[in-house]
């Protein structure tokens, strides 16, 4: 499947319903609804545990196909994407910070970022170093990922996600283990990148986080 450059990555969900949640989605503002997330918008999806926040992002990231209804990126039904299309999308158009972070435990923090950047050739080493410093990880770069705290891992995963061009950035509870200061620094970094690339931001959270201007907040 070919992607025309800078096709607007508007996301459209038509009556999407994950099979495991079938029948339990009556009051959702996302499941079994028709909604459009416009290109460059900022969206918050909040819900308590078990309502399918991670499921939603997994569907959007092509990791789950056990759902009814359709999801469109622009005009393309993402069910039609083949393996190679997904690799392409994940390298150039769609970023994700996984809730379980998906770091390689036996690699260092730096190598975890490097392995992504090598694929995309997006950042110079100095830029990566700068992000590490900004998020307070300058002295942790050479440490094996398995010896980092969850909060530190979250920040490494965020840096890795920013080592690629994207039109959509998906963040799955990215600040759940961060103190207010690092949360703030993370937000700043994300906002800057999204603005620079005109990217859509979709963030999930347990509670509506205050103080931020989202275009729309959905109760899942």
């Amino acid at each position: 499947m070919q992607f025309s450059e800078r096709l607007t990555m508007e996301i459209r969900l038509e009556q999407v319903e994950p099979w495991p949640l079938r029948g339990g989605c009556e009051d959702s503002q996302v499941w079994r609804q028709s909604l459009v997330l416009r290109s460059g918008g900022r969206y918050l999806v909040k819900a308590r545990s078990g309502r399918g926040k991670t499921t939603l992002l997994s569907i959007l990231y092509g990791m789950r196909r056990d759902y009814g209804g359709e999801v469109y990126f622009g005009a393309a039904d993402i069910r039609r994407y083949r393996v190679k299309d997904w690799s392409d999308v994940r390298q150039r158009r769609l970023g994700l910070v996984f809730q379980d972070l998906q770091l390689f435990d036996d690699l260092t923090a730096w190598e975890n970022v490097e392995i992504k950047n090598r694929l995309t050739a997006r950042r110079r080493p100095a830029e990566i170093q700068e992000m590490f410093s900004w998020l307070g990880l300058a002295d942790r770069m050479r440490q094996a990922a398995q010896r980092l705290s969850v909060g530190q891992k979250q920040r490494v995963a965020l840096i890795r996600a920013l080592c690629q061009p994207f039109e959509i950035l998906l963040l799955d509870e990215p600040f759940s283990h961060l103190d207010p200061e690092n949360t703030e620094r993370g937000r700043t970094l994300i906002d800057k990148e999204c603005r620079a690339q005109g990217a859509t931001l979709i963030l999930t959270s347990l509670d509506a986080d205050p103080g931020r201007d989202y275009d729309q907040v959905y109760d899942l």
């Binding site: 690799s87 390298q91 390689f104």
Partner: protein, 394 residues
Amino acid sequence: MILARLLYHGLGWGRLLMAVGSALLGWLLLFGGLQFWFLVDHNLIRRGDLLAPEFCIVHKPVPLIGLPGGTGITFKEAEIADIKNQRFVQALAPFECSRFQAHASIVFRSWLSGLETDLFFESIPDDYLDVDLKDWAWTPGTDRVPIIMPREFLVLYNVGFARSQNLPQFDETLVRQVPFTVRLSGQGQNREFAGRIVGFSDRIPSVLVPQAFLRWANATLGEGQAPPSRLILKTDRTAGPELERFLKARKYLYNVERLRSSKLASLMLLLVYVVLGFGVLILGLALGVLALSFQLLIVQNRERLERLIRIGYDPGRLIWHYVPPVLGVLVLANVAGMAFLIWGTGQAIRLFSNYGYTMEPVSIRSCALAMALLAVLIGVWHSLALRRRLLRLA
């Protein structure tokens, strides 16, 4: 480097080295055997020394009191069909026999006395002959008839008869030039022909005339066709032992001497087959272990691979990190194989020459080509298998 660390995490080096070692061993056995086969084929089979199709002449034992006309020793249709149906019999022809009186006489110009003798003729189809067939043709109306004699017959005459009787000795070229008269009689008719010996056969112990001539003479002067009492068989080059068993079971007689070389031939072939068989077996097992090593690696690193695919690595491209080592092994196998073939061919030729066989060297080109082809096949097969596994993770 980072990627290689992830992709080859937990690789069993010992197992892999053993698999590579055995694959090399199997590879060398297989292609060594193949090259040996080419060598034997080129030098012995094509040249006809050892493994050429065997001709075997079969007849029945004469009973204690033979009946006139030899009905006891002729082959019946069913018996001929039985022999023909044996797996190792490629073709078969009966000896046709003259059914008339024949008399040959030579008159020497410088001697008063001549030589004369009563004769009989037989004939077999031309393709069973081991003689140059240049002057062999006979067409009705021609009064010259070509004759083939057994070489042993001339030898016997020269070294035995001629010396004991104080008669002149002849070499083959001379005998070919001696004109003699062949007088045939039967059914109240007489015919005279100018006979000429056109060749000497090692294979056929009989006085032969062209089949067309014999059939014409039998029809004109004789009592028609009689059932054959001798058969000539063209058999597989390796049929020796099996043929011998069969003939013994039927209580037929045959010329044993000729079967001996085919025993050697089948032994040689057996050796080649054993080597080839072991080569295939070892190579197959080793390739299996090698393939399993990689599959195991993928299973062990399943989570890492899935993770790489999730952060955007294309599984179709990840396989290229697994393919080069296998290609390396294949290239190594080809280079080692080629060196082994060159060295081994020389050794084999030296070995044969110790036993008195001169072997021409055979180019390793066919073998090298087969090697390269197999390497490509294995490479492609391996890549496709890995690709299928990796795509399943996506």
